[in-house]
Amino acid sequence: MPEKTDRVQDQLVAFLPNLRRFAIALCRSRDMADDLVQRACERALANEQRFEQGTRFDAWMFKILRNLWIDDIRKRKVAGPQENIDERHDIAGVSGEREMEARLALNSVAQAIGELADDQRDVLLLVCVEELSYKEAAEVLAVPIGTVMSRLARARKNLAEATGISTAPTRSAVIKGVRK
């Protein structure tokens, strides 16, 4: 029996804000995100024994949630928009999306993140926002670490271009800029 504090069920509730943020950024709708988060928690609890002690719980949860999301997209593509579940999602998605847009309009960086290609956005979220290492992100996305790096570099260049992020020399910050 694992240590109580390491157990998935003991960490889940505290992690909900992060998981939900990741979900909203992925599907750009709060309603869909909440549904996604709930299903991810359900799956995590059902597969609790598969969580490897000593590995990052957040990375594990992000992977579960993202895989569910990818399944959803795939199902939608196969089934077409007539399928009931998609109908529900689309209806939920419309209001949610508008809400997200309203919020995003206030923040051009968030908007630019939302406009990135999915594969670039995902890696940016995991590394820059959720602070996973390249290796951990590669594990979540099930791609080689080299792919993580090339996508991440592209994502950041695109983000900088879209938002006009200042790239003026800030020498002192940079010299101290090595994070770890």
Binding site: V37, C41, V129, S166, P169, V178, R179
Partner: protein, 263 residues
């Protein structure tokens, strides 16, 4: 000094702290003299900082109560399931004639599902018999018929009676309180033509409600085999059943039930 050239990826790794110390030192040396390099590195640092800042509000947003409640409920259900599945600690021993655990090998893994499913199966058990049996069913959807209710309110643990109007034998096993402090009774009912039902009923308002029952396989008459009591033990530990009451406590508690019922 010749200026080294670095790829975007290398600079990004530098900015993200994903480079080995030697490479970090090399880049830092060049940055001392190359402002363009500084600018390129700054872009990677800035995008990280800005992306984080941009999505910070989403993190601060309160998680909808509905979602939290749903997740908490799932966790609680999971924990309850684990408690049911863990039968290593029994709430209290029972003075039954233990039989060789031939059935327990397969009974135990399904104890958890049994505990959840048995109540629903009850109606089926009693309804599956003859018409007479159906009419005389002891409970429907967990609500107990008068004959059984009377027995629950009167028969002391360890005693056995024949239920009024039905030829089934009723045996009171123990009286205790569950985690909600409701009065509960563990009992068994033998029918003449069927096996024994091991059951728990708890007071809910002014009535008894069956919260657990398992049909013990094998011959009727006599005590339920050990396998069915393992499911019961699992259930009792899930509802955090208190220790069985002493004879005096039980008499008092049952008297209270009868008083309330008479009002």
């Amino acid at each position: 000094m010749t200026e080294e050239t670095f790829s975007d990826e290398i600079l990004m790794r530098f900015a993200d702290g994903e480079l080995d110390p030697d490479m970090v030192a090399r880049i830092e040396r060049v940055m001392e003299i190359d402002d363009r390099l500084v600018t390129r590195v700054a872009m990677f640092i800035e995008t990280r900082t800005q992306a984080q800042a941009a999505l910070k509000p989403l993190l601060d947003e309160p998680v909808p109560e509905k979602l939290v409640a749903a997740v908490e409920q799932m966790i609680e259900a999971k924990r309850a399931g684990e408690r049911v599945a863990t039968v290593s600690v029994l709430p209290f021993g029972r003075g039954r004639i233990a039989r060789p655990p031939s059935r327990s090998q397969w009974m135990l893994p399904i104890a958890a599902s049994l505990a959840a499913a048995v109540v629903g199966a009850l109606a089926g058990y009693w309804a599956a018999g003859t018409n007479e049996r159906t009419r005389g069913g002891l409970w429907v959807a967990g609500v107990i018929r008068p004959a059984l209710a009377q027995a629950l309110a009167t028969v002391e643990s360890g005693k056995e009676i024949r239920l009024a109007g039905i030829s089934d034998r009723f045996r009171a096993i123990a009286t205790f309180r569950n985690d909600s402090r409701d009065l509960c009774r563990e009992f068994e009912v033998d029918s003449q033509d069927r096996s024994t039902v091991v059951s728990v009923a708890c007071r809910s308002g002014d009535e008894w409600r069956v919260s657990f029952a398992v049909v013990a396989p094998g011959d009727a008459g006599g005590y339920a085999p050990a396998s069915s009591t393992e499911a019961l033990d699992a259930y009792l530990s899930a509802i955090e059943a208190g220790a069985p009451m002493s004879a005096e406590e039980e008499i008092k508690a049952l008297a209270e039930v009868r008083q309330k019922g008479a009002k």
